[in-house]
């Protein structure tokens, strides 16, 4: 067999595997573009007998709720990622300096956070009874700002990839630690920043748990939480559809397809950028699992 060609059986198996990963998305997409009457008569199909874009029309007519949720998610993600990258890298930089006398203590401080957790109830009470941030965007931002694992990954990058002589010479030239951090460390850490930044972005964007626990105010619903509500609560879905009802000349509200159209609107941007970010994502996965 030609060693340069892949065994066709392997190609077939992998193609099936890939299909299994993609097909569920296809089902959601097809329900979102199916005609409501056809769906209620025949069920959710991979190829509905009749198509209709009326669900998307509904969502555009009454985009207010979704746009608001989109902007909550975007705002939380942007602020969260930027602040998190600064906080994480600054801590990692301090940790990477061999001369720093508190290095051991700080490592231990971070390690403990990775080993022991107080559990949901005390964590909830700290945010609601001590910080009083329930029903504010802070409740969505603060919990994801720092993670011990990310600090360790960044520290490892700083110690392995930035030559200590570079830091030494800049400090001999009179640069303080702040100067060194901003003008040497940050510009040289683009790869690790991109990887950790991407992971933080995905975890903020995909987060619905903090909303589930802390957010009651409908105006502060993030996109993922709006979707959670829509799926679990039929009357909530109805309220989204009702507002648009008057403007479209439709006899029955296409609830089934609206629901799935909302899911599509949420996955859409992510799936579109995914191929371009895949490289960093894979790097992050491997770094995260096999400590870099």
């Amino acid at each position: 067999m030609n060693p340069k060609r892949t065994n066709p059986i392997i190609v077939i198996v992998l193609t099936l595997f890939s299909l299994a990963c993609l097909i569920p998305f296809w089902l959601v997409f097809m329900i979102s573009v199916a005609d409501e009457n056809w769906v209620t008569a025949h069920g959710y199909s991979f190829w509905p007998g009749k198509f209709s874009l009326v669900a998307y029309q509904y969502l555009i007519e009454d985009a207010e709720k979704i746009l608001r949720a989109y902007s909550v998610s975007a705002l939380v993600t942007v602020i969260g990622v930027v602040v998190s990258l600064f906080v994480t890298s600054a801590m990692a930089y301090a940790l990477s300096r061999k001369e720093f006398p508190l290095r051991g203590a700080l490592s231990f401080y971070i390690l403990i956070t990775m080993l022991f957790s107080g559990g949901l109830l005390p964590w909830y009470l700290v945010y609601t009874r001590f910080l009083h941030v329930q029903d504010t965007l802070m409740a969505l931002i603060i919990p994801g700002l720092i993670g011990g694992f990310n600090v360790i990954i960044m520290r490892t990058f700083f110690t392995n990839s930035i030559p200590p002589s570079l830091i030494d010479s800049s400090q001999i030239d009179g640069a303080g630690e702040f100067r060194t951090y901003f003008s040497i460390i940050l510009p040289l850490s683009l790869p690790v920043m991109a990887t950790i930044g991407l992971f933080t972005t995905v975890s903020y964007w995909n987060d619905w748990f903090t909303s589930l626990v802390f957010i009651q105010n409908e105006k502060l619903f993030s996109l993922q939480y709006l979707l959670t509500k829509t799926l679990m609560n039929a009357s909530f879905l109805q309220t989204i559809a009702n507002k648009a009802y008057s403007s479209t000349a439709q006899v029955t509200t296409p609830l089934e397809s609206i629901r799935m159209a909302m899911a599509m609107i949420a996955i859409g941007p992510l799936v579109l950028v995914f191929p371009f970010l895949q490289k960093y994502f894979v790097r992050g996965l491997t770094v995260g699992a096999v400590k870099g």
């Binding site: 959710y44 957790s117 979707l227 894979v282």
Partner: protein, 320 residues
Amino acid sequence: MASEKAFITQPGISRPNAKWRHLWKYRALIILAMPGILLMLINNYLPMFGIFLAFKDLNYTEGIWKSKWIGLDNFKFLFASNDAWLIIKNTLLYNISFLLINTILAVMLALLLNEVKNKFASKFFQSTVILPNFISMVIVGYIVYGFLNPELGFVNKFILEPFGIDPKNWYAEAQHWPYILTIVNTWKNVGYAAVVYLAAIVGIDSEYYEAAVIDGASRWKQMTKITVPLIAPIIIIMTLLAIGRIFNADFGLFYQATMASGMIKETTEVIDTYVYSALMVTGDTGLASSAGLLQSVVGFTLVVTVNLIVRKFSRENALF
């Protein structure tokens, strides 16, 4: 502090002062680390001190500090209700089966991905298999609903009905969920694990294979005699780390995929969902705090033990 005392007894120099001055020299680094330190204090340390709540009868009107101490009553109540055994059993059984199935499938998938010669094809397959890991559990909930909706779902309408099987009321019948959740979990996570193993495989020195080819080893032989043994350490480490987390269930999976249905709790209630609903739904803080503490303590013991074992295998992969 014994060491400080030793410093002071040395005549002439005031050593603690020198120590502070030494620290003062590094104040910039302390300031840089400070935001992270404070955030961890809020997010991790303060909740850790909150574990004493498990021994209190928490009463919001009296306040956290003034609530009555009740010893082990919360735990007695937890174990008396039989809930404790159910959620521990479910959590452990699910995690064990996820671990077994994911590891086996992921290693197989990684071996297959490694056989793909075309660079573009390899990228494509890798992208598609990790795509499920990239999306939120909420979307997974929608997908599961698309398949299992009792009236319209694909499985009832297009698989069971054509074969003349009665449609199932999935979200009300507990017996199906061990299979459903295992499939969903595999779908979401196996690609990720495979990519991790693939990275380990790619890192294997090509000289091994060259030598094997000269000796006339087939691809299959190379796979079983070189690749698998050489990635065995990483498989073992990943497995041990997963065992360290075996008491922690994936809340999103058990909450979203089941649509938090109350009728199937027998097979879908795990420690994390139990603590959540005790706290947020029924408001039973005693159960929430005692089950939470149980999870924390067992989890901590497991992680530390597993780490000691990992250290034996390979120092650089251990957490500490």
